[in-house]
């Protein structure tokens, strides 16, 4: 690897986050790495040298396919996994949630919402039980009436009204959307400043997703939450996020303002993601004429071309190189660092001048 971790990080930071304009810095992830030991001495670099920042009142989207390490990144930020290296800063101060007390305190600032509302709620407990625990723990409320009032207020915040109708219900009596609202309410009960939402809508019906995202957006605004929105749906990131980070094989390969990045992707992987999203305006397009699009032919390539990189090998070149139509020898031997392409955008690719000539030309202008 030509550049060591710190210089890579420094270069990534030259970029001003598109989320920074919304509010003060809440949380910073600095060169986060997480390795998992596999059998046979192999190491999975689930997260490799990832840096980004969350700002109060802003949404940062972390986009990538399954196995890209986006959920591991969320678990690191939530203090549920130990870092292999790197640092998490909350309001400027480094945090170490390794002791029980520190973890509890940390959790009252940083909350995680899970993907699956069917398994993240306990089937034998009522809605009230799910919500009264964090209210007692994090808000220190004792009296029964106070707790009940707070639980009702939480349910109203997530628009489960009238609250009285929902407090006594069990998860199986609620729809998927209602359950996910309960998960949101549970996260809000701690009065956090940072909310990490791991695929919060991907288990829900398309028609309900929009409602849930606008609810999240409403909560972000009302409580000035710093929101990390993790998703594989880059289209929803376009509408919902201020900044988008694209993750591949544990690394951030591109970052930038949501609209710019989705409309003019620079990195070949982002381009693949964007090209793969369903495109209703492309009626009779690549899918129906047998998929003659440029990525379709990957089928004839080596098997590696069709499989996402399970194990990142950052020592040995760009992780996307085996699937990349533009890869040259340098890509296979040398892992590119994130380099700024404009004031708010960066991409990690040696061949940006070929992959995204338009974007790179703009860099010359700015």
């Amino acid at each position: 690897m030509s550049s060591n971790g710190s210089s890579e990080h420094a270069r990534g930071r030259e970029v001003v986050s598109a989320a920074a304009a919304r509010g003060p810095l809440a949380m910073e992830a600095v060169c986060l790495s997480k390795d998992f030991r596999l059998g046979g001495g192999e190491v999975l670099h689930a997260v490799h040298d990832v840096s980004f920042a969350l700002y109060r009142g802003a949404v940062v989207a972390l986009v990538g396919e399954s196995g890209s390490g986006k959920s591991t990144a969320a678990r690191l930020l939530a203090g549920q996994e130990r870092l292999t290296s790197g640092e998490i800063r909350l309001d400027g101060a480094p945090v170490d949630p390794s002791t029980r007390r520190a973890f509890r305190q940390y959790k009252s600032h940083v909350q995680l919402v899970f993907q699956d509302p069917f398994s993240s709620l306990n089937p034998v407990h009522t809605v009230h039980h799910h919500l009264q625990r964090p209210v007692r723990l994090h808000q220190g409320r004792e009296s029964r009436a106070e707790v009940a009032r707070e639980v009702a207020a939480l349910l109203e915040q997530v628009r489960l009204t009238p609250a009285g109708q929902f407090t006594g219900k069990y998860p199986h009596e609620l729809s998927g959307g209602q359950r996910q609202r309960v998960s949101f309410a549970r996260a809000l009960a701690a009065k956090p400043s940072v909310l990490l939402a791991d695929e919060p809508v991907s288990m829900l019906d398309v028609s309900i997703r929009l409602e849930m995202l606008s609810l999240l957006d409403d909560l972000r605004q009302r409580f000035q939450l710093a929101l990390l929105y993790i998703t594989h749906d880059i289209a929803s990131a376009r509408y919902f996020a201020d900044e988008v980070l694209v993750m591949y094989a544990g690394q951030i390969v591109e970052r930038g303002p949501a609209e710019e990045l989705t409309q003019q992707p620079a990195h070949p992987y982002t381009q693949l993601l964007v090209a793969s999203a369903p495109d209703p305006d492309n009626l009779g397009g690549s899918l129906r004429d047998g998929g003659t699009g440029s990525f379709r032919r990957a089928k004839d390539g080596p098997p590696a071309a069709r499989q996402p990189a399970a194990v990142a090998t950052p020592e040995r070149g760009c992780p996307f190189a085996p699937r990349c139509p533009l890869a040259i020898d340098r890509c296979r031997s040398d892992n590119p660092a994130l380099q700024p392409v404009s004031a708010a955008r960066a991409a990690a690719c040696w061949r940006l001048d070929i992959a995204a000539p338009g974007v790179v030309a703009e860099r010359g202008g700015t």
Binding site: E65, E211, V274, S276, D279, L283, L287
Partner: protein, 350 residues
């Protein structure tokens, strides 16, 4: 494309679930035809009855589900004359399933047996339905994997050793084992991410072109269907709300529910659109109210909708006689009613 008689003709088809509280009308009076080589998309929210419809058509549901009416006529090349699937005995059904009509089930993660390797599962299916000697079945299993682009070396793999996309491909390979005329796909790519999803869909289309089967594709993701399907049927509360070509549903949606679905997904391509979503929740099918089931959530609704009969009728202003809608009031050219937007929605647009 629609020349000739349909390979599957569903008429006035109804299914209920018997519960102690009464009948849940999961599918009510559905009419739908499927032609050879065609992809028909069935779109709707969870609980709209789309999976019930597909499984009931193959007679795969058991009590408390009950088919209360209608007919399902199958016309295959290998079957003499039209057959009413609903009249078949269990032996005849066994002949029909898999050989004539195959299903790719939702969540391939769970549809494969975790303690058998891929080879044994495919060979099992082949031998159960084709009565091939074991050696030929083995050869065929290898051929099926070739078809879906999985190396033959994976025959010995167990499901947990395969990625989600590969498992889904194995399911598709198994469905194609007996060269069926109809493949029913129930949310085959919902659990996969977009790159893999696109790859698999392109493969399905390619296989359809080569092998010439018809596809009934069930999903809640209308954006996917617009690109994939030839015709789309939009289902709500057990009834079809609108049927039309993909282009008609996309550019001239007639029914308010289709319009709602179209307005609820963020699109990546093209200019940012006004997203609205569909407020409210689907109705309780245990005590369906009279009139249009979509009325409580409909932005166009009036008092007349409570009493008028909502049957699929031809869209009067459409040149295509097969563009049908259940709403007699809203036409493709009807303008969208104004609705005050919430702060959050305005923020989402900003």
């Amino acid at each position: 494309m629609n020349a000739g008689e349909p390979v599957l003709d569903i008429t006035d088809f109804s299914v209920v679930y018997r519960t102690p509280l009464g009948d849940v009308r999961a599918v009510s009076q559905v009419n739908l035809a499927l032609h050879t080589g065609e992809v028909v998309g069935l779109a709707g929210e969870s609980g709209s009855g789309k999976s019930t419809l597909a499984y009931a058509v193959c007679r795969l549901l058991r009590a408390p589900a009950l088919i209360t009416g209608g007919s399902v006529i199958y016309r295959g090349r290998r079957v003499a004359g039209p057959t009413d699937v609903l009249q078949l005995g269990s032996h005849q059904l066994q002949q029909l399933r898999w050989r004539e009509i195959a299903i790719v089930f939702q969540s391939a993660m769970n549809a494969l047996n975790p303690v058998l390797n891929v080879r044994d599962q495919i060979v099992d299916a082949i031998r159960a339905h084709l009565r091939l000697p074991r050696r030929d079945a083995l050869e065929k299993a290898g051929g099926l994997l070739d078809l879906v682009g999985i190396p033959r070396s994976r025959l010995r793999s167990y499901p947990h050793e395969l990625s989600g996309g590969m498992r889904q491909r194995v399911m598709i390979a198994m469905a194609l084992a007996a060269d069926p005329e109809i493949v029913i796909m129930d949310e085959p790519t919902t659990a996969l991410d977009v790159v893999v999803q696109r790859d698999i869909l392109a493969q399905i289309v390619e296989l359809k072109e080569t092998l010439g089967f018809a596809i009934l594709f069930i999903t809640h993701d209308l954006s996917l269907l617009l690109e994939l399907a030839d015709r789309i049927a939009v289902m709500y509360a057990g009834q079809l709300m609108e049927v039309g070509t993909a282009a008609e549903i996309h550019h001239e949606p007639a029914h308010p529910y289709s319009r709602g679905l179209l307005n609820s997904f963020p699109s990546l391509h093209g200019p940012r659109r006004d997203l609205a979503g569909i407020p409210g929740t689907p109705p309780n099918l245990l005590q369906p109210a009279a009139g249009c089931p979509f009325l409580p959530r409909c932005a166009y609704g009036t008092d007349v909708c409570r009493t008028v009969d909502m049957d699929l009728e031809r869209v009067a202003s459409s040149a295509d006689p097969d563009h049908l809608t259940a709403c007699p009031f809203v036409l493709p050219e009807t303008p969208a009613p104004g609705r005050p937007r919430t702060d959050a929605e305005q923020e989402l647009q900003a």
